[in-house]
Subunit: 198 residues, 2 copies
């Protein structure tokens, strides 16, 4: 590409490498950024490095956060005996947006997917088992209702049940094949209320 300068080309390429961003969108974004006031550009750039540098796993639930414990695990008003297992932090946020779930979470950071070479050891399962040694009333498995999510749910239930802990699965109010983070809050709540023991 001779038509932009090297710096602009580099920015376009970096932006186009982000998920869901095509070449055209990257160009629009790049020129938008260049035309922003300098302090806004600095803020954008710094927010990227800051989020990356400070990002760490919550010592309790393994979600991405910037302190030893995430805001939810650090909240004493949450029911720490009720653990909802989700695939990623955005799924956690999806349930938080319902505003009705009072327990805590456990973020697996993925789902079992032999096709993509992701096995149980690639998920935060060791950390989950460690938590279950404490005082836990119920584990709610809220992985996606995709093939991988269902397989992961089955795997976890078989892993946990011998310990005598109540294991539930969110109801199939969530459409099969759907992605948790895109589902409306009413459906998410119905799925939570209709959970069944597995």
């Amino acid at each position: 590409m001779e038509y932009y300068s090297a710096d602009i080309n580099r920015l376009v390429d970096e932006l186009a490498a982000l998920p869901g961003i095509g070449k055209k969108s990257a160009e629009r974004m790049a020129f938008h950024i260049i035309n922003l006031p300098a302090d806004r550009v600095k803020r954008l750039s710094e927010s990227i490095t800051a989020a990356k540098e400070k990002a760490r796993y919550c010592a309790e639930c393994c979600t991405l956060t910037d302190a030893e414990y995430c805001p939810i695990c650090a909240n004493p008003k949450r029911d720490h005996k009720m653990i909802m297992v989700v695939e990623n932090p955005r799924d956690l946020a999806a349930y938080e947006k319902t505003g009705k779930y009072g327990g805590v979470y456990h973020v697996l950071h993925g789902a079992i997917s032999p096709m993509n070479g992701i096995g149980p050891s690639d998920l935060k399962l060791k950390e989950l088992l460690e938590r279950l040694k404490g005082d836990v009333d119920e584990v709610i498995i809220a992985t996606n209702s995709s093939l991988e999510g269902e397989a992961t749910a089955m795997y976890i239930s078989k892993l946990i049940k011998p310990a005598g802990i109540k294991v539930t699965r969110i109801a199939s109010g969530v459409p099969v094949g759907g992605d948790l983070e895109y589902i409306d809050e009413v459906t998410l709540l119905r799925a939570f209320e209709g959970r069944t023991e597995i």
Copy 2:
């Protein structure tokens, strides 16, 4: 939002402020960025500040570049007596992608739009008139075929014609109301070939 840490929320907000990026996309992008290797994140962040810091107008055609002259104006093989006037750098890139235009450009950085308070003095017209004092054979007006683009084309042709320079307008192969940067290369070439004197 209690469900993400302050740094992640800040990054999501900054990304969601970019054009065409909604909240959901910003969340996907943010977690994608956090999961990238540290050197990739550094590159992304640096490319943003570098493009902004080094961005300047080409001394000849006013496009955004990082040197005194953009790669096109600095190229002696281009026909510097043929100037195509476009609204923004992405429109320049759209014509460059056809690979068949051998002249140079002039970037207005906008179009006349009284509704948005953009008048002729907000565009790079003074710089265009300055260039026309040199040896110029033809000025091709390739503003968008929107209301603003057409008005700008009329304004420029009236401004330049007294100087006795040939002024042309790209043909209406470009659909009326369309945005130049999204049009296929064949249509762009047809519009170039079918240009008429105005």
